[in-house]
């Protein structure tokens, strides 16, 4: 059976060119970047070149980038490193758990947290951010692109507000990284999290951009790597892979985005032809009359009245299509997606979501195949559901 992967928001395959870039750093060029000898110097050089490359791609200086073990660590560090007892944090109800659970961990430690609501498309109103700022507000953490429904948040507007009000601004850019242009200076971003495995890089590597002058308490103590900000022997192969993945993403961003948009439009149209089906998320995936796109085209989230998501995903998988319901990390939890609940869906609807997230490998034929098998599965599941209408 042909297997179609449509879960790129969960993770992506490592691009062959990325794997090729990583390979030498596993074998011949395996040195520890802290070592003085040639093996170490080679590793160090590769590390610093990678740092410079990703920095350049987002308008940062190399020494503003530290490499981490992934998006989760970056998010944890941004929040835990900047907030202490008595500080106020503004974040949103639809953040990834790496931000949300960290905020919830900080609350009993004496950090005040405001969770901003979103509209029915998952969008945050910058005016809400401004209104929530208090004298003790230290940090605003609002994600760039939501991982479940693809909402593109007004990060630049929020950046302006935070800068004007003297508040730090962190954005979890894990989903948008390499897909939307980012300029940390122009967008007034103080801290930014990213993760390699979402853009055809390896798992277990991430980064945190920290604007010069911001001092964060480290999460990891030890040998003083990353200029004392993140100890632990650097994962050179992984970091080189990350930089390569970013280079490829930036180089082809325009072209890939256009391709994604075409595929996405086709997919949405075909899926919404199923009776009682709905798109969770904003329909507008590109700039329209001067107004920026509201949803990342590659993240398409649907719901089908009367149907439960796990069953749907497994039926799809049995027919060769890999998709997800809710976000990957909560697929074994009973709770409905906090994102879908936040955009106002009822429990059963939130439980019945299907995310089809497109990526580099997907073709029009993949979309056709999914559009062909999905209606039958939905019908079957409705046939056995007490909640489905009609029949």
């Amino acid at each position: 059976m042909k297997r179609i992967y449509m879960d790129h928001a969960a993770t992506t395959p490592v691009d062959a060119r990325v794997a090729a870039a990583m390979k030498p750093f596993l074998s011949q060029r395996f040195g520890n970047a802290s070592s003085l000898h040639t093996f170490g110097q080679e590793a160090k050089e590769a590390l610093e070149e990678s740092r410079a490359a990703v920095a350049r791609a987002i308008g940062a200086a190399p020494d503003e980038i530290i490499f981490t073990s992934g998006g989760t660590e970056s998010d944890n560090m941004a929040l835990k490193g900047s907030l202490k007892r008595g500080d106020h944090l503004i974040t949103s109800a639809i953040e990834h758990h790496a931000v949300l659970h960290t905020a919830q961990y900080l609350e009993p430690q004496g950090v005040q947290v405001t969770y901003l609501p979103v509209d029915r498309f998952g969008l945050i109103d910058p005016a809400d951010v401004e209104a929530a700022i208090k004298p003790n507000t230290k940090l605003v953490s609002i994600m760039h692109v939501n991982n479940e429904i693809g909402a593109i948040e007004p990060v630049a507007e929020i950046g302006v507000i935070c800068r004007r009000r003297g508040v730090l601004f962190h954005t979890d850019a894990v989903q948008g990284f390499g897909k939307l242009p980012i300029d940390v200076r122009k967008m007034n971003i103080d801290m930014l999290s990213a993760s390699a495995h979402k853009l055809c890089g390896p798992k277990g590597v991430g980064l945190l951009y920290i604007r010069n002058g911001i001092k964060l308490a480290p999460l990891m103590h030890g040998g003083g790597h990353e200029r004392g900000r993140r100890s632990g022997t650097e994962n050179v192969a992984g970091i080189v892979g990350f930089a390569k993945a970013m280079e490829l993403a930036v180089k082809d961003m325009k072209k890939e985005n256009a391709g994604m948009k075409t595929l996405s439009e086709k997919l949405v149209k075909r899926v919404l032809a199923i009776p009682d089906s709905h798109l969770n998320g904003h329909p507008q995936t590109s700039r329209l009359r001067g107004r920026p796109a509201k949803r990342l085209a590659c993240i398409n989230n649907f719901r089908f009245a009367g149907i439960e998501g796990e069953s749907l995903v497994i039926h799809l998988d049995m027919q060769g299509v890999a998709a997800s319901t809710g976000s990957a990390c909560s697929s074994r939890s009973l709770e409905p997606s906090h994102v879908l609940t936040a955009i106002g869906l009822k429990h059963a609807d939130a439980h019945g979501s299907l995310r089809l997230s497109l990526g580099r490998g997907n073709t029009a034929a993949d979309v056709d195949y999914v559009a062909k098998v999905l209606p039958g599965i939905v019908e079957n599941l409705r046939r056995i559901s007490p909640l489905a209408k009609g029949k």
């Binding site: 439960e308 069953s311 497994i314 409905p336 429990h347 059963a348 056995i384 007490p386």
Partner: protein, 159 residues
Amino acid sequence: MAKQKQTTYGYSRKVLEVFRHPKNIGEIKNPDGFGLVGNPRCGDTMSMYLKISKDGEDRIEDIKIKTFGCLGAISSSSILTEMVKGKTIGDALRVTKDDVIKKLGGLPPIKVHCSVLSVDALKEAIYDYYKRKGRKIPKDLEEVHKHNLQVRESIEHMH
């Protein structure tokens, strides 16, 4: 409790087999007993329809279910209907969640409650049958019913 052995999607081979081809799906027009139960956390819902023999033996002549829920819920409810079809109500009431889980080759710990849901659906339908017939209702059925009423209130907003 039977420990889970083989796993795909975290489920046993048997669960998947049942999930692929669930049995006794549907409704019964004018059932002798009907039960609707739900789980307040996951929001899953089952409706159970019974046709009971008129020969005084209270045999389950026909049984149908509809399930909105995960693989655990769908496979539990399907296998339960197969286990009790043809049995007397007395025997049917002796089927426990552990019997269901065993028959399914195990369930992941987080999904054990799905089997409880299916057993409760049956009890609820039998409660309804007894009620219609004006029979005396055993205490445990009464309790299941009371609990279920509470739950249904709390999940009303979910659907």
